[in-house]
């Protein structure tokens, strides 16, 4: 194992620690009602608790804050350590059918406006801020208070469309910029080192690009390979880079968002249908080799074929989403084992006991995820090529 990877694991573990610590603080001293008991689990006797599934979801889900970690910022009157988050607070852009367009520079500012778009857990407020009853008598922001705030302010009648550039969207822009930097430099290498053998990054990427062209684009798209190859390349590298960065601490798991994979699958779907040949549509609505009454009497076959058009991209989106999310849950769950066995920090022996096993398993899963990180974009790209190729195929009717 190289030093670099070890660093990654260490960072991952450290990142998890800091978030748990933050959560401990957030829930401390809360008086829970029944609903919150349900959401956050049993409270420990000493007043600290970790809700593992909550923390795991926080790592998985998209957010309006790019949270890095929390640092101790002092102690409150009861002697407990206070934490201040190190985070990039992202702006909100909302269209509300009742309130119209709502813009706010961050979550805090949005809450200060007295507006909550929908029910949500706002965990990452700066402690000590005064925002309309969000702060308790000790100057702490509490989830409980926000819940109260929420109940009063959310307009159930309104339809809210959240168009904010969230953490995942921002991460995607960064991934896109990285792709641009990497591949324009690779492209420059071809002009700078013209007529010479490829070298370094150029030869690595060339290997992948040529592999995709020979094994994906050409076999399934044939004569149209060149037309769709840039799209396939973008898909592959975009998802692959996203997955690799998603494995690093502090980064969003882009392809673990169903919205992201759905958008990519919809793009593939649109390209597929817009390039569908006459035979493709004939196959859907007048499938050759099927008894006429199944097509025009009882239109079962066209129905099945029509549904089939949508199940393909649906499977595409769900496969990628589920694979990436599952990997993240595995890693997070295994790391969380330390905190579960450590009994929220009360049992040092339990925590230390499980730690070697937890770290070992995390390493194994992490290695597996590195493989999944490249296999999934490959499958997505391959199936995209297959779907487009199938739709563009022109059959000779005499074959049927």
């Amino acid at each position: 194992m190289t030093g670099k990877k070890r660093l990654i694991f260490t960072l991952l573990l450290l990142g998890s620690f800091s978030l748990f610590a933050q959560n401990v603080h957030q829930h401390e001293g809360d008086s829970h009602d029944a609903e919150q008991e349900n959401l956050h689990g049993e409270e420990e006797a000493h007043g600290e608790e970790i809700n593992v599934s909550q923390v795991m979801l926080e790592h998985i889900l998209d957010s309006h804050d790019w949270h890095i970690t929390d640092i101790p910022s002092g102690t409150d009157e009861q002697g407990h350590t206070e934490y201040a988050p190190i985070a990039l607070h992202l702006p909100w852009m909302i269209y509300d059918t009742e309130a119209g367009f709502v813009f706010a520079s961050n979550t805090h500012a949005l809450l200060e406006k007295g507006y909550l778009p929908y029910e949500m857990s706002v965990l990452k407020l700066n402690p000590g801020v005064d925002s309309h009853g969000l702060v308790d008598e000790h100057g702490h922001a509490h989830l409980h208070d926000i819940e109260v705030f929420k109940a009063e302010n959310v307009n159930e009648e309104a339809t809210v469309i959240d168009m904010s550039i969230t953490k995942t969207a921002l991460q995607m822009i960064l991934i896109g910029l990285l792709l641009l930097v990497v591949f324009t430099s690779v492209a420059r290498a071809y002009t700078r080192r013209e007529g010479q053998a490829p070298k370094g990054l150029q030869s690595l990427m060339e290997l992948i690009i040529v592999f995709l062209r020979e094994e994906v684009a050409k076999p399934y798209l044939g004569a149209n390979a060149n037309r769709f190859f840039p799209y396939l390349l973008t898909l592959f590298f975009f998802i692959w880079f996203s997955n690799l960065f998603g494995l690093l601490p502090f980064n969003s798991n882009i392809a673990g968002n169903i919205s992201v994979t759905a958008a990519l699958a919809v793009l593939t779907f649109i390209i597929t249908q817009f390039n569908g040949s006459k035979d493709h549509w004939k196959h859907v609505f007048n499938t050759p080799g099927v008894p006429w009454w199944l097509k025009f009497g009882i239109p079962l076959m066209p129905l099945v074929e029509f549904i089939g058009l949508f199940t393909k991209p649906f499977a595409l989106a769900v496969r990628l989403f589920a694979n990436i999310t599952a990997g993240h849950f595995m890693v997070l769950g295994l790391v969380s084992l330390i905190f579960i066995m450590g009994d929220n920090g009360t049992s040092m022996a339990g925590g230390l006991g499980i730690m070697p096993l937890s770290v070992l398993f995390t390493m194994v899963i992490f290695a597996l995820e590195m493989i999944v990180a490249i296999i999934q974009p490959f499958i997505f790209t391959l199936l995209t090529a297959v779907f487009i190729g199938m739709a563009m195929e022109t059959h000779d009717d005499h074959h049927h």
């Binding site: 168009m163 591949f183 002009t191 190859f229 973008t234 999310t325």
Partner: protein, 163 residues
């Protein structure tokens, strides 16, 4: 929740992806794929040229071989011709020499013959003179009749000449 798609993220994903797709296609994929295509073409051409060069080389080698063979044959021919010429020259020289020698011999023989004939004639003359004088002396003593004796002697000499 986790499986609830959010329209905002869906929308931004599509926008961001398409934006970077266009940018990457323009600034990365096109130059890279063009360069790869050019290089593949260059490699294919180079291979073809190498094949051609090999074929050319083989042909040249065959040509060389043929030339060499020809040269060797020519050399052999020249050697043979030279040999023939040598033989011929030697033969001619010998023939000439022989002829010259033969002519010389012939000349010598003719000379000897002539000398011999001369000598014979001289001997005959001398013999005749001697015979006559001897006979004269003999006859003078024996015969008084000068005239009849001379007549007889003359007939004898003419008889000698006729021989």
């Amino acid at each position: 929740m986790i499986i609830t798609p959010s329209f905002g993220l869906f929308f931004w994903t599509a926008v961001i992806f398409l934006l970077f797709f266009v940018l990457l296609r323009r600034f990365a994929w096109k130059p890279i794929l063009n360069a790869l295509g050019e290089r593949e073409e260059t490699i294919a051409n180079s291979l073809k040229q190498a094949d051609q060069a090999r074929a050319d080389m083989e042909r040249l080698q065959a040509d060389n071989q043929a030339l060499l063979k020809e040269a060797r044959a020519e050399r052999d021919n020249m050697l043979k011709e030279a040999g023939q010429m040598k033989d011929q020259i030697i033969g001619e020289a010998r023939k000439e020499a022989q002829a010259a020698a033969a002519a010389e011999r012939e000349k010598a023989r003719a000379q000897i013959e002539a000398e011999k004939n001369n000598a014979l004639l001289e001997i005959k003359d001398t013999a005749a003179t001697l015979a006559v004088s001897i006979a004269e002396k003999l006859l003078r003593k024996q015969f008084d009749n000068q005239a009849a004796q001379e007549e007889y002697a003359k007939s004898l000499i003419s008889e000698l000449n006729n021989n």
